[in-house]
Amino acid sequence: MRLFRKNIIFLGSVIFICATSIAFTTFYTKPKEVSAKLVSTQKVFEAGETISLDFELNTPVKTTLFLHASFGSANIDPVEPTTTRFVIPSFIARKKGKISYKLIYESEVLVKGVVDVIANTRTEVSLESYIGPPSIVAGGKDYTMHVVIPTDAYDNPFPDSTVVAIKHQFMKVENENTLYSKDMIAWKNIFSYKQSGRLLLFSKVGETASKEFSVEMYSALPEDFVISSDRKHVYADGNQITELSTSIIKDMYGNVVSDGTLVQFVIKDASGAILQTQGSTLYGKAVARVLHPDHKDTWQIKAYVYGMAESNELTLSYQPIIDDFEVKFAKENREIVVGPLVSFMQQLIPDGATVKLMIFKEQKKIDTKISTSSNGKVRFLLKDGFYEAGIYDIHISALGVQKKYKKVLLQ
């Protein structure tokens, strides 16, 4: 146990001696008086140029140069270990902006200063250019913006007031403007012309031209227009198609509206119901189609580009194709043949005309049968299993004509 304590004391004293000696050597080193000054005189460099800085030291010691530039910070050694000539690495020297430097000897700053790097106008110009939006509306209110950033070969923006030529072509117009860059960029708003079409433009700095840009000018909002109809005949046969078409829809500057513009045709029929059909424009003209009604009707038609433009009102009347049709009762009134349904020239009506048969018993509707015509005729069978013998009222309606048969006796 005692031996153990002895050891601890011994160890403690050794540690103490070591610590004090280290402390003395650290704090009581002799200060050396080192000073330096910058020898090289050039303070402004063009990007890409070799930037070398020479210093003069009173005592030859090993120094390093600490740099701080837009790319970040770096600590560089002299070109040769014995000299005090520093060459700033090219990746920093190529970048426009300020480079601050500090000459350092053993954590001590001996000299500090700043050099400027400016864009190198002697290299080939490169242009960074943008346009947006790529499509605008004709009429002179909407515009697109062209932005140009002229730079040197190292991607450094040129100083302010660099001359940028900007040219654009629209139809027969070829326009040139001169811009001066400010805060690195040169920009221009290009307002639309009254006509729709395509505008091409580019910009130029010195001998360097940008690529070609194109801006689409779409027509402005549509103006009111006129509609017309085209139909094969005026009869309400429920089969032919009436074509409704617009005049060429244009905007207020006379541009044809862009293809695909939707035109809504709203049809008010004789009963006040609102029917609709629509068409999209092709070279300004929209065509919509609607089936002829299958009964006498008068349609009031008006077309709209919703919220923007409308047409005149068109009235179309459809004549009934029949005034009457034949109904034959057979097999003790249990077979009812409607037709032949004949159309306006006494021809058989095309297949598919709807015929509705309603059966009433004691004023109460008990069944409705709907069938479509085939070869102008429709046949209904009232089977005795389902309709007991008795007296019925039968209503038949087809193509807008209704016929009522009262007190039909089914055996």
Binding site: P134, F213, N239, L262, I274, S280
Partner: protein, 1015 residues
Amino acid sequence: MGVVFHGTSIFFTLESTYDALIHLFFGNHYANNWFETWNYSWYTGFTVMGYPPLVHQSIGLLSYIGGLKFGLFTVAIIAIVLFITGIYRFALLLSSNRKVAGYTAVLAVFSSAFIETLHIFGQLPSIIGLSVLLHALPEIYLWLKIGRYVYLINALSLIAVTVTSHHVTPIFGMIFFIFPLIGMVLMDVSKERVSTYREIRFVIFIQSFLSLFKRIVGFGFGALVLIIVCILPYWINTKNNPITQVPIPHGSRDNFLEVTSSGLVFFLIPWGILLLFIPYIWYRFFSKRYLFFGLSITLLTILGTGGTTPIPRMILGDNAFDILTLDRFTLWASIMALPMFGEFTYRFIEGDIKEKVEKNYGSIYYKIVAGVCATMLLAVTLLTMSLGYFRPLQPQKIKMLPIQNFLSQDQHDKWRYLTLGFGDQMAWLSAQTNAMTVDGNYHSARRLPELTTRAVERLENSKFRGVEGIGSLQQFLTVPEKYNLKYVFSNDKFYDPILYFCGWQRLRQLENGIMVWEKLNVPPLSNILPKEEVATFQRIMWGLIPVSTVVLAFMINIRWIWIHALKTKSKRFPVYFKYGILYGDFKKYLLKISYIWGILILAIAGNGLYLIYIKSVKQISPIHVTEAYYDALDIKEYKRAYSYLDPQCHKTIDQYMLEIAVNDGLLSSYAKMDNIKVSVTAKTDSTTKVKAVTHWVTPLEKIDKVYHHELVKYGKKWFVKPLSYDLDIPPDQLYTRNTTTYYNHGRRRVSSEQTYHEDVLKQPVLEVLSAKIVEHKDQYMIIGELQNIDNVPADVVVTGTLYNDKSEKLAKYNVKHQMKHKLLPKEITSFRINFEGIAWMNIEESKPDTFDPNQFTSLDFKEVPTRFNLQCAGNVATVDLYKEVAINDLSITDNHIEGVLFNSGLEEVTIPMLLISYYDQNHQLVWIDHQYLREGIRPQRKQYFKYTLLDVSCVNYFDTDMKNVFVNGLENTLITDKVVPERKEEHKSIQFLPINGKGFSYIKLEVNTYIGAPN
């Protein structure tokens, strides 16, 4: 023989099994990142620590030699070898007779349970786990009996392999295989104390138990430590991420008597031929030596019956019952029964049973019985093998290369994708591509609450999961931005309408016939995705332990294999050979029981066939024939449907098929019949009128439709009179259309650069004309109208957010289908945003039993929203701009609108949808409703519709302030002022149909059209 038989056939079956490709996917994961436990490919990232890795890692290792599939097949062949040798050793252990063991091994090759597990389910880990466990059993026996440590080490090394290949097998294997084995050892030890098994009494048994207690505990403790340590990361993961999911229905939990298909797959097939020999198997297992095996097999059999009896649920408890798949119990039971079946076969072919039968019934009879048994064995084997062929479990094999190429082109893998109708092949796709999917095929690993709260195994096959499936899918399709989901690969046209109406567009069909759907305005995935880190020690354990257990087990057991393969040492019989019995005393009554049982089983099978026959006689009554007719229509067996039609109506089959062929639409192309109720409305002796109320399920909504039919009777058979069809003749034979079509180059220069500035199109400008919050029965929605005021067509995405008074966000959602997503220049649409919550977050909430895809789980608002924000984004659309459907006739009756739609264009409209906007007397929008029409509209044809007007008097609207409405990130008010400053407000009412309804004064109709097959 087993290797040849299975080895050749797995090449045809394994790829189409349920699970094999999942294991392949995992194998691929390990092959690429051995120590990485996080996988981004599925479920927005999941941990692979949810499944013991040995088999996957083996596949991964072997894939370095010959690719993933080589790895899979090699592992499968190893599994077969292990299984056959394992069952041989197990049989040898039980019977102590090499011949019996040999027969058992041969029969094991043809065991239908094994075939099903391998060739239909593809559960490799479970087979390997079980096989290795079987190998471990003799070692355990020897350790307990003799007590040499070498046997303990052997046994434990094999148990370790079992643990790392499948965690459930050793846990239940302990109970069902090792405990009975211990019991058997005790019996054997007890027998040594007395002379025969018969004299063993309980006291002696306890004495032997106590004498072996140390060894048992030693082994048990060792096994427990292995189970915990070998897959420690798995247990840690399970603890951290407990399975808090809604259980997914599994056929093995069904009542097999009710759901006969489950009964077939999970009971009849695994048992197969063994069913005939159950009396013998039970008799032998309940002899005293095997008593504990008898108890175990009984328990396994009962557990294997799933939901047929309430007992399994009582034994396992609700929780375990809902998580475990119970088919494995049947598998274990049938494997356990194999040695006894082998023994019987041995005795039947060369033993005492043969003598007995020949003596009692004559040798010809014996040969017949033997022949019948052999034929049945082969028949069951073949049936099981080819089950996948008769009833395809999976869609046709899909060529993945075009999809892979698509995903790797043009940075398409920067977005997530989703597959629909791929079956388990989606795992194979995931293994081959870098792209990620929101779906996945290992449901225990699901993380998104949208998935875990629903019993939806995969989104991919959601149509089989009813409301939950389609509901989940719709959520993903409506808000794809949330998941960066941009591409859908559809292999099933069932999903097409839902994709269209949720605002997706068809991109193109790949060479393999898969349709690619795309959604615009979805941001790409960020470069850094969230993941759950795990401790390094866990990763190292996970990466190294499983393979090292195999290496260790192999090294330890190689001695045994060496001895047996090369017979280097003279054969020494293991101790258990002492306990073999002589087969000579076959009880006559047992033979009789077996005989009767066999006949009984055959009779039941025959009865089943007869019942199937009776069901197939359809035309005995009007109701039957109507049901049969619709059934035939439903499964598109038109020839059969035609056979039910009145033969005297002179309709030829060609004419009938033609009529069917021209019918397209929601009902005829996308519907599946849910049920049908047929009732007779009028009846005579030879004719009947019936009313058929049919319920159809479609991807969009549930459809109820009533049909009226007339039926006639000729002789004893009833026939359906054909319904009349549309006779309408269009006016034009050939006609032309000039329309505007669009093409967007994307990039004009072939370049892999990210975005070419000059090729980015301007987003079309939209203007929101009105928007407001509406409240209906405590549900809040945003409704409004917007117009594409640009000169190019727009695809529109509208996102609404609701806030409370304190500007706290309450809900955010997109417009689903109540809008026209594609707008031509100057076109308007109404829209409605329903705020959907995640369904059944609360498990106690009752789920609807019936399927209703139209139903959505509305969000439960805790506070009243008072403000809203609307973000609309337009993108240039180039497709789905068909607008040629006119409203050709309208009539208003009471509370109905009836009308005619007319398709004047060139495309066949598959599903027309009506959007109905309700306005009050001040021309203010109050409500928006929609209706899908059931039938499509062919070109130049008309279609009738009938819409029932709603009572909207209980709808309140508020906050019509438009200041928080933004279009493409710009304020809507600015757009209004700038683009259409002089809007003609009177146009608002041009389409108004005046109706004096409940809570509204006008309605407006709009038509949206889905075209199934664009020209």
